[in-house]
Symmetry: C2
Subunit: 334 residues, 2 copies
């Protein structure tokens, strides 16, 4: 940290933006009754008794006159699903409300749907704030949903991943021996253990079907891209580091989970109705486990975990083929 003597506007904004915020849309009506709305992250609570909240609006904002004359306005704390709405109300477009379903709030001020929380307010004070006006509003009504809120930090949308107050530790050991570098904090260990613990839920079902984890991957691949050659299957499953052999495919055929079709010289593997059913059964278990985890972690944190895993996968992707792309790139027979 070095002290900044002169004020570089970008550096100042960068420093300010490290303070994490939620994202709100604040609505009112103009003098003609037209709906007005802007995105703001300058919202905060002020007082519980009386109930007051505040936010600030640029003096240069087109909507300043509306918010100055209409004393009623509604604050919407946006949910993670409302990122697009945030962008829409942050721009200068004319028809921000086009196609948006609205409730009518106090004094007919627009109320948006699917927010995390909403506060219906009446201006209590308007304060001087440099190039902004600070609006302090008395809260006349509010409501709250269970939707996880959208956050904003350093110029990017974010999800708040909550950390338990006492931290999270896997081991009860007081300390790791200093020479021991394989710790519970190693990302590779955590990803591996998460993976294996999730697979463990499938194991009984897999054993009942005389399948292993790897065979489940093969059936899953065929459930998305059917009629693949062994090479193509391996193309999609290669990331596991284990090769799918012809012997395994013949075992799956014997189990009647796959059938073999000839395509000229090529053998192509097709999922049977039984194979599809078994695959769906496994995915159903995986989804039930995920539902249970979502209840324990919370919807927002589960979503944050998925986003972070996807970013990890992107960051470490050796260039794997796109399983969900309509045309497998290695196929010339479709």
């Amino acid at each position: 940290m070095t002290a900044t003597a002169s004020f570089n506007p970008k550096a100042f904004r960068d420093a300010l933006s490290t303070f994490t915020t939620g994202v709100t849309i604040i609505t009112t009506r103009g003098t003609e009754g037209e709906p007005i709305g802007i995105t703001a992250n300058s919202f905060n609570s002020v007082s519980l008794n009386p109930p007051l909240v505040l936010w600030s609006l640029a003096k240069s904002a087109f909507s300043l006159s509306a918010f100055s004359s209409n004393k009623h306005w509604n604050v919407h704390v946006l949910s993670v699903e409302q990122e697009a709405l945030s962008g829409r109300f942050a721009s200068r477009g004319e028809d921000k409300f086009a196609g948006i379903e609205l409730d009518r709030g106090i004094n007919d001020i627009p109320l948006l749907h699917n927010c995390t929380a909403r506060f219906q307010c009446r201006t209590a004070f308007m304060y001087e704030g440099g190039d902004h006006v600070i609006f302090v509003g008395e809260v006349l009504g509010f409501d709250k949903s269970e939707l996880p809120p959208l956050a904003f930090q350093s110029g990017q949308y974010a999800l708040a991943a909550r950390k338990p107050r006492e931290g999270v530790r896997l081991s009860n050991a007081q300390s790791h021996p200093p020479e021991c570098s394989y710790t519970e904090d190693l990302l590779g260990y955590l990803a591996g253990r998460a993976h294996y613990q999730l697979v463990a839920y499938l194991r009984t079902l897999l054993q009942n079907h005389r399948l292993d984890e790897h065979a489940f991957f093969v059936l899953s691949v065929l459930s998305i891209q059917d009629r693949l050659t062994l090479d193509q299957i391996n193309h999609f499953v290669a990331y596991t580091g284990r090769e799918v052999t012809m012997a395994m495919m013949l075992f799956l055929e014997k189990q009647r989970y796959v059938a073999i079709e000839m395509d000229g010289e090529d053998q192509r593997f097709v999922l049977t109705a039984d194979g599809r059913e078994v695959s769906l059964e496994h995915v159903a278990v995986a989804k039930a486990v995920e539902q249970d985890i979502t209840e324990k972690l919370g919807a927002g944190d589960t979503q944050a975990l998925k986003i972070l895993l996807k970013r990890l996968i992107h960051a470490t992707d050796p260039g794997l083929p796109d399983l969900w792309q309509a045309e497998p790139q290695t196929s010339d027979a479709y």
Copy 2:
């Protein structure tokens, strides 16, 4: 969402707390020159030109007289490592500054170390805010570090997991076929692919050492808890769903990575110097990969990912033994 007619204070606080914030400590000096500091999440930016920020302080706060008389105060945007400091300054303790290293800011106002950002301010306005006073300060100086900031949401500390503006997708497919339930959004798929892609970085090194992933786990376990029986090793590696056989241990012995010691009737496996070196080499690669990922995802997001993985592991833990606990629970020979 249902409108709330009457004001339940807890419900109001719950609704307000869905708005995510950062966490700050704000410091000043009292009339005797004593350092004063409080935790506040009501901070926000107001104006860029002139540079103004605001926060609000309960009228009942012990520190109100100090902040009212001393026009200078410093805002510290706390980093993720400063959760304990946040708790300390949120309490009413007398010696909040005991043992804390301070810089001297403008007008000798205390400046804390290891924050994400710091703003040195002079009161521009004090505004009425119900049961709080709103302090608007002109920013006289600021600085910023690269430490990820601490966040706060719904009464819990959090880390902001940033989501790219365009979202994160693994597949370029426009849509998944409706009947296809195995999608890139399945948590189990994401955890598996993350795991296998991380292991892929180790594969060449493993092959050079004639080891597989599973043997790496065995060596890692022995690097933490040495002199284990085969049963004890399996106890720790059972979560992978694959049994460690005596044949594998004898292969590792032949490779001179482990040695066998007799303990009465029991065979115990001991990591050799070679085995320890190989294990450390693999962990070094895993750490280099993690370093690379941290650079791509950012330190805060990597930390958020680890916390979420640990919470997932807790949520799905079938009761695995604690590898890092000093005494293995199944051992009676130590």
